[in-house]
Each structure stands twice: as C-alpha cells, then as structure tokens.
Subunit: 403 residues, 2 copies
C-alpha cells in the first residue's frame, strides 16, 4: 500500500495542505504524514499496538508492517517492546480496513470540512497528551483555532447529559468565571453539563474546545450543530478519528482519555452513578492529573457519580472557581487562621453586659486565676470589649461600641 | 479542705448514693469519689493539669495539692510529667473556687435532679473517652440510662443549628435508620441538626444520648426542655460539669470533644463555614476517630462546613446509612465490578438492529480482526444479543428478547 501512496502526488500534496504547521513540507516528510493518516484510518482510537509500531519504526515503516508489506523487523521480534501475539492480533484487526481509498477519503473529507491536521512535533501538538504513551493518538483533526490546544490553563468541565437545574447552574457559573479569567474550557460537546460549560465559556467571551467521539465534520449530538459551529468559529472542535467516522460507544470512551490528558485539571460537575464522565475522571486519575468533583445533595441521583469520585477516586471536593484554580496550583487560597486565646473565650463567657463583676468573681465564674483574669481584662479593655468601673467590670455591648 | 470533706458523713453518703456503680461504697472509696467531685468543681472541662494530677496522685492527694493543703510531691516536682509553671498556673486558676460549699451544692443539686455519677473504673465508664488523656473528664453526670454510654455502636450525628430543610431531611433519614438498626445516636441537644437527629432516633424507637455544655439539670436550649426530657426517659443526658453550671461558649467547645471521643464515628450532616460542629469534627479527626461529612449543594451556605471537612480534614464523603456504617467497618459495601470485554463494546457499536451485516463488514466497522469478530458473535448469540441469518448478523432489539 505504501507504494501506491508514495506515487499519488495529488494525495501527498492534499495531506500536506492539511498540516497546521504549514503546508510547505516535501518528499519523505509528506509521505510520513500520509502514512500516519493511513495508520489512523486502520486502527481504532487508543490501539496500543499501532501506537507502539509508529513510535518505534516511524509511520512509513509501521504502515508497511501493519498492512503485511514488510515482516516485523528483527529488532522488534521477540523483544519485550511488542509482544508477538499482540502484533499478530493487531495485523488481524487492521487487515479488514486495508484499502487505500479509505485514506484518500479521510484526506478529502478533511479538506472539505476545512479541518486541519496536528501531529506530534508540531508546535500546536499538546505535549501533555503523550503521557498516554502507546495509547496516545497518532494525530488530531481540528476545526477552528489549532492554537487552542496549547493555550494554558486548560480545564475540563464535564458531567452528566441528564443534568439537573442545579448542575447546569453550577456548570454555567464555574465555566463562565474560569473562561472570563483566561482558562480554556475543554469538554465533550454533549447535552447537559458539557454543552452548558461550552455555552458559558462562549458567553463570557472566553475560549473553549470540544473533543468529539466521531469525525469533526459530524455534528454530534445533532441538536448541538449550532453550538459546535460557534465553538469552531472562536475555539476548536477536535477529534482523533478521521472525518466521516461515526461516534460509537467505544469511541466515546476513547475520546474521554483525550479530554483528561490535554487538560491541566478535570472537574466533574454532576454525574449519575454510571455516567460517562466517571470514565473521563478515571483517566485523569490514572494520568495523575488533578481531579475535582462538585458535591451536590445526597438526595439527587445526578450527584451520585461525583460523590463516588470523592469516595473512591480520591477526587478533590471543589465548591468554587478559586478551589478549581487551586487544582493546578494557581492562586493557592491563603487561609487566615483566626487565633483566639481560649482563656479569653472563657473570660468573655463569664462577663455580663448588665451586671458589674469583680475580677475575683470573674475568676470563680470562668475557672481562671485572678492574676490571669486581671491581665486579660486589660487586653479586652484596650480592645474596647470591656469597661472598668469602681465596682468592677462590665462587657460593652457591640452596638454601643459602634455608636 | 480535704479534712472538712472527710468528716462530713452526710456528704460522703450522699455522694456514694449518686454512684451508678452502686451506692455500697465505704471509707476511703467514698472520700475518693468526693475528692473527684471537688476537683470537678474546681477545674473547668478539659483542664489538663487537673487531669494529670488526679491520674498521677489519685483524687484525694490531687485535691490536697490543688487547694494548697499539701506541697507538690517531690516525685512530681521537676519531673517531665507536670511542668512547675503549669502547676502554679493551675493552683492560681483553682484558688478562686476553693470553697467546700461548692462541692456540697454540686452533690445536692445532682441528687435533686436524679443525676447519677459515672467515674473511671465503673463498668458504665466509656473507655474510649480516656483517649483524651489528661484532657479526659474526671467524671460524667448522667440523667437517664447510664448503660447508654457503653452500648455500641455509638454514632455522633451533629450539625448546624441553622440547618436547611435539606439538612434536616437527611439528618432525620440517617439518624432514624441508624437508630432503628441498633446504633446509639449521640448528639449535642441543640436546635437544627442535633435536635432532628435525637428526635428521629426517638421516633424510630431507638437509643439516643445528648451531651450538654451546662449541667444536666439545666435544659438548654430552653425550647428543647421537652425533647431533653424525652431523651432522658429512654436514653441519657450527659455532662461533665456539675449540676447548676451554666453553658458557656468555652464549655460548648469542651463538650464537643466528649461527643467525638465517646462515639465510634462522627458524621456532620450540615455545617456553616464556622459552625461549632467543625470543632466536634476536629476533635474526632485529632483522636483518629472515623469522620464523615454529608455533601450538599455548593450553593448552600449550610453545607460549606461539610465541604471544608472534605477538603481540609480528610473527612469521608458519606451519602447513605450504609456508607456511615462503613466508617466503623460495619457491613463493608460489596462492590460488584461489572467486567465488560471492550472488544464486545466495539462490536455491539458496529452491529445494526435494522441492517444485516457480514462478519467482514463488522470487522471493518469496529476495527477488529475477522476471527475475533466471529468468536465474539458466537458469544453474543449465546447471550441472545445478536441473531444470525444467511446474509449475516443483526442485533436483537431489547424489547424483542423480552417478549
């Protein structure tokens, strides 16, 4: 297959024109990009064997092996890098898709959709995504502003499709505030929390990125066609599967790992007990990314997933935008500990604002030494909290001290 | 002072009659109990110096030292056990209260209130409370069933006085369920969450204990006079301060440590940012007792304290009675992990319930090998999820398989 691709000049220049890093690539570099697209067509998202092949052999050689045009290189056979059985299974998986027309279809539909191609090594490639190792995507298809993928901080705001009014209120509040103050809101474009987060970011004049499970040319869900178009026009719509690819349950699960991996923190606003956003959260936790969960009423099924995250995933409980920013170490909340001398509390308890009491009586009442009481009374007098008279001490009423 | 007490036969037999472990104590034992009551009168709750003196010298000798009738024993002076300065400060604190009438007043009002006395060593003494070390109470005054203090499990259900309808609903639900299934509900008798928890326990026919900040003869808050009376009649009302003592802010804080220390777990249902129940929670955490916090809407000020506990105190998020029971290791929730073969998910995604597809086409669609697809189809066929025809495979509709 590689030889057919190598001599298809139209396809080679078409794929080069999709590259976000500039269409001015030639020769071997163009073939390398085209081979990468071919591997992207052959393998489903997150195919670790395909990923390992491309990483170790480069895209051209990986494709040769993948379509059976070349034997597995000796240096990989039997090595611990790729297991022989795994490789054989990979070949069997890719075989049904070995068809050069699929590659040209992917390139043509990307061009039609005005999608760009971002590959590892491009300045626009989000380096964090490589933490996925062999399961990292081979490339990303992007409609809109490819620069969005590297603007920081990026925070994933995700949650249930079946969100409650409470969840949507909180999502709008948090995403709007974060976007207004410079964070990129990453989400999955779904109904419910995702859509609310995207919309709030747009309304705040901020930046937002939607990762789709299908091709970037396919508006899914249909009802979000206009929203996705608005996201594309100021932010970016991103997917790892070629244009024309339908979203499937598997691809939703795979897509979730990209949301978690490209974000500096993931926050789940609301999630049912088995919500897909728990999957995104699981990826964030597995990658060691900061994970926040917004609590809600224990009587609400839409918050059950968030509470599971707090209980089982060691997610951080977040209740405000400031607490979300703390997730990536921004603006750490300075907590002022109010230090009160406990003896002062005891003396204030004993004082009356109606009756004048002697230091000796106050000492008996609060169980402190007379000396200690006298010195504390001096401090409280300075603070305007007590008043001295000939017969003893009286507590000043708060409103009196204000007048 | 000790000599006056030693010869007050009426007072000695009166104090003996208060003892829950039986009034049949004589001689030195009676004097020891009376001296302990005297120390209880002299010192405020949690006075660590008084506690250390009684632990190390016994109540009689401690009292002698405390009122200045005896020098500090040589074996304690300069030792690391009690610091000389701390002891001098203690003597100065206790001096204003050195009056034998205060002791007889405490005994008389306890008798009038039908209160009983529980001291360390009694079978009814809650041993867990000694984890407070020198800050453990010297004794407990109890109205009602003294046996309540040692029935297990005991769970503290505490929270804001200014509770929301949500908080009261959850408190009633949880306390009622726990009480109905044999847990003793411990709380502070206050308005809001505390009162709701007590009431729910009583309605469920369960057991409940109220720890008061003032004497057990003083109904506080006044509006809970009837509730406290109901608690006394089937459960217990407990305090460490002598009858007649007024509740003060200091004593509320000190009381909170008893709630935490005597309970197998502490659960905060709802708490404002500076709620007193955070103090109870802090004691539970410091004692290493399991601590649970019930989450609520982030838009509710009454849940702010619970969210602080989740964030800052490492409290466990609890959303049900089963999760509360897990706090003390009861009925650990058995989680059944639903294991689904990811390839099965991919194949199910590819199948149609309208169009019949060949194994080869399915392999292309889902990116799996044809062999793998065929074997998975066999499994799905056994499970009744797909149907085979001459032209290929079709997904069975769920409702069809039910009919």
């Amino acid at each position: 297959m590689i030889d057919r691709l190598r001599h298809d000049e139209g396809l080679l220049s078409a794929v080069a024109s999709l590259l976000c890093s500039g269409p001015h690539v030639h020769g071997d570099r163009r073939l390398d990009v085209l081979a990468r697209v071919a591997m992207n067509v052959l393998a489903e998202p997150g195919d670790g064997v395909a990923g390992a092949l491309v990483r170790q052999l480069g895209a051209v050689e990986a494709l040769r092996v993948a379509v059976g045009d070349a034997p597995t290189p000796a240096r990989m056979r039997g090595s611990s890098r790729i297991d022989d059985t795994a490789l054989a299974e990979g070949l069997a998986r890719w075989c049904p898709r070995t068809d050069p027309r699929r590659v040209s279809d992917a390139v043509r539909s990307a061009r039609d959709a005005d999608a760009q191609l971002v590959i590892p090594g491009d300045p626009q490639w989000p380096a964090q995504i490589d933490d996925l190792g062999a399961h990292a995507p081979l490339l990303l298809w992007v409609r809109g502003d490819v620069g969005m993928l590297t603007v920081a901080p990026r925070v994933a705001i995700v949650g249930a499709r079946a969100a409650s009014a409470y969840g949507e209120h909180v999502a709008a509040e948090f995403a709007g505030d974060l976007a207004a103050t410079g964070s990129v809101i990453v989400s999955g474009g779904a109904y419910g929390i995702d859509g609310t987060a995207h919309r709030a970011a747009l309304s705040a004049g901020g930046a937002t990125v939607a990762f789709l499970a299908g091709g970037v040319d396919r508006a899914y869900p249909r009802g979000h066609r206009d929203l996705l178009e608005r996201i594309r026009s100021t932010g970016a719509v991103v997917s790892e599967v070629p244009c024309g690819t339908a979203p499937t349950k598997w691809r939703f699960l795979a897509r979730n790992r990209l949301i978690a991996a490209t974000s500096d923190a993931t926050v789940v606003i609301e999630a049912g007990r088995r919500s897909g956003s728990l999957n995104t959260a699981g990826h964030a936790a597995a990658l060691g990314r900061p994970l926040g969960a917004v609590p809600g009423p224990v009587t609400s099924a839409s918050s059950e997933g968030c509470h599971r995250l707090l209980r089982e995933y060691d997610a951080r409980c977040v209740t405000s935008v400031a607490e979300i920013r703390e997730l990536w170490g921004d603006e750490a909340d300075v907590r002022v500990q109010q230090r009160v001398d406990p003896d002062e509390t005891r003396l204030l308890d004993a004082l009356s604002s109606r009756v004048t009491l002697s230091a000796a009586e106050l000492a008996r009442r609060c169980g402190l030494a007379v000396d200690r009481v006298s010195s504390l009374l001096g401090i409280l007098e300075l603070g305007g909290e007590v008043e001295r008279s000939e017969r003893g001490w009286i507590r000043r009423r708060r409103h009196a001290s204000r007048s």
